[in-house]
């Protein structure tokens, strides 16, 4: 029995070359940015897999490839055994589509401001032709609004009449409208205030318990990830550097980058903490360091780290950990 979602050896390159004429005149070769490099993980049904990383780590690119918004350059995503890329499985993929939905960061930008909320939520129902008859669709929209903690009368309102948190509730209702069972949230609470973020995180967990949803949760906020995730993958410059059960990752981080990240997060428990901050910044992904891309900032780096890319073995991609130096 394979996992609900399986991602194997996923890669994505973006062409960031200058225009053809400039390349010819300035004698420059084509340039590529490897946003995602050999990423693989599996998500079991009903669990929350979170991907954390700083900006430019490729976490959103992974999310977009998993839902099929962006074709991978190499590698494969299969959901319930159906490949998201294989042209021979197009028919099966079409049947699967309605069960996968995405929730975006900005609830303001992800809704048509001229549509009433009722129409926004009903759109997937109509698009997949799930329910026939206007009365039945209206009843389903009311049910969905109730599910996310809004009132049935809210269907008549426009998106601008809602606050950010309420709009994110509408986005979740829309995602659930097509009887989705797999939700991909790309920073779903990053644009919200903390008290509202708590409402949305609680709602997402309640819905998961109620409906048995599976989540892929993308966030830069480690505390939010800790609160939501069953398992966590940490990304750095396009590569997965550590994958572990959430509890283990936060209790005993293994990769030097994960340790650094956990140590860097300002937390309520650290009142007045004085500390030695980590040095350096994320390198330019167009021209990443050789070997392990973290080596210029890593306290454990040696010659092997500078030359050889570590493979993800037993949940961690680090020569130092694998050699027992860490």
């Amino acid at each position: 029995m394979s996992a609900y979602v399986e991602v194997t050896d996923l890669r994505r390159r973006f062409d960031v070359s200058k225009p053809w004429l400039n390349r010819v005149i300035e004698r420059e070769p084509r340039k590529f940015l490897t946003a995602v490099d050999r990423v693989g993980f599996a998500i079991e049904k009903g669990e929350t897999f979170a991907i954390v990383g700083e900006s430019g780590s490729g976490k959103s690119t992974v999310a977009r490839m998993v839902v099929g918004l962006l074709p991978p350059s190499a590698g494969e995503v299969t959901i319930t055994g159906v490949s998201m890329t294989d042209p021979r499985q197009a028919a099966a993929r079409r049947r699967l589509r309605s069960r996968i939905q995405m929730i975006f960061q900005d609830p303001y930008a992800s809704m048509n401001p001229r549509w009433r909320v009722g129409k926004i939520i009903a759109e997937p129902i109509r698009a997949f032709d799930l329910i026939q008859g206007e009365g039945a669709i209206r009843a389903r929209v009311s049910e969905l609004l109730g599910l996310v903690g809004l009132h049935a009368d809210d269907a008549k309102k426009y998106p601008h009449e809602f606050s950010g948190g309420q709009r994110q509730r509408v986005a979740i209702a829309r995602a659930l409208a097509s009887q989705a069972e797999f939700l991909v949230g790309d920073e779903p609470t990053s644009a919200l205030d903390v008290s509202v973020q708590a409402q949305i995180l609680n709602l997402m967990r309640d819905l998961q318990d109620q409906l048995g949803l599976t989540y892929l949760f993308i966030s830069h906020n480690l505390a939010v990830v800790r609160h939501m995730a069953t398992r966590v993958g940490v990304m750095y410059l396009g590569r997965l550097v550590e994958v572990a059960a959430a509890r283990d990752l936060f209790a005993t981080p293994r990769h030097p980058y994960t340790r650094m990240l956990l140590d860097a997060v300002p937390d309520l428990a650290h009142v007045g903490r004085a500390r030695v901050p980590v040095s350096g910044e994320i390198p330019n992904p167009i021209d990443p360091p050789s070997g392990c891309t973290f080596h210029p900032r890593c306290p454990l780096a040696n010659d092997r780290c500078r030359a050889e890319v570590p493979a993800l073995l037993d949940g961690v991609a680090c020569h130092a950990v694998q050699e027992g130096r860490a």
């Binding site: 900006s55 409402q199 937390d267 040095s279």
Partner: protein, 326 residues
Amino acid sequence: MTETILSVRDLTVAFDTRRGPLTAIDRVSFDIGRGEILGVVGESGAGKSVTGSAVIGLIDRPGRIAGGEIRLRGERIDNLSPEAMRRVRGRRIGMIFQDPLTSLDPLFRVGDQIVETLRTHTNLSAKAARTRAIDLLAEVGIPAPERRIDGYPHEFSGGMRQRVVIALALAAEPELIIADEPTTALDVSVQAQIITLLKRLCREHGTAVMLVTHDMGVIAEAADRVAVMYAGRVAEIGPVASVIAKPHHPYAVGLMGAIPTLSQEADRLSQIPGAMPRLTAIPKGCAFNPRCPKVFARCRVERPEPIPVDASRVACHLYDAAEQAA
């Protein structure tokens, strides 16, 4: 407390609209001492940034300071002429904003921008100003400052740019720095570096800092005291350890419970129902009363004044001696 640098008393800021004035800041009072970092925290719309803008005299029409006073070392600065205020800004009050790219002129070398600030506010010669600029860049941790001083802002990374902005803010040795979300645009590992830098510099120079942010984690690590704002009013102000560990105001209690932390696993985050009221519809009495779990009749009619509770001042009727006796 040591010498008071900034003293704000009953500051009120109103925005004139066609439908009458909207009160964005309503009788806010606080002090900041020498070398002290006061964190001003609140959700969006709480008025924290407007408070900062009022202190540096950057409230634009239709906004205006409608009442109260702002004193810098005992001297009133809220009623200065624009020309006199311009001399205070930069010389006696430094500023750090969220986005370092918008605070730096992209067409000028960073060194020239620092030299310009130094030459405007001090009587250093061009040569001495350049030497001082190199010292400043070294002080904020920019490697090879004698070379980087001739770089343009786009040649610096986000974290390095924010360091340049800090160097600019410190250039004229101001008594007070207003830092409005200085780390929000940065990645966590860089954010930690900037917080540490800001803390160290303020201690060394004895600069008072008003640190405006929505991130309680940043406040916990950087601030000495914290003011929690809600709907344009200060709900609670006190030492950072007690406000975070043992908040008194029901809004502060809800806010702290809503923040997921790395240090402990909570099954559910506490959530505050509803959202912050709009300026057009601030409730009568205590602005928090419609969302407050402990609301009683008096809260709906009478606005609570800040009263001392332990080491803090809390604007809540619950702590009024008369209520506690009853």
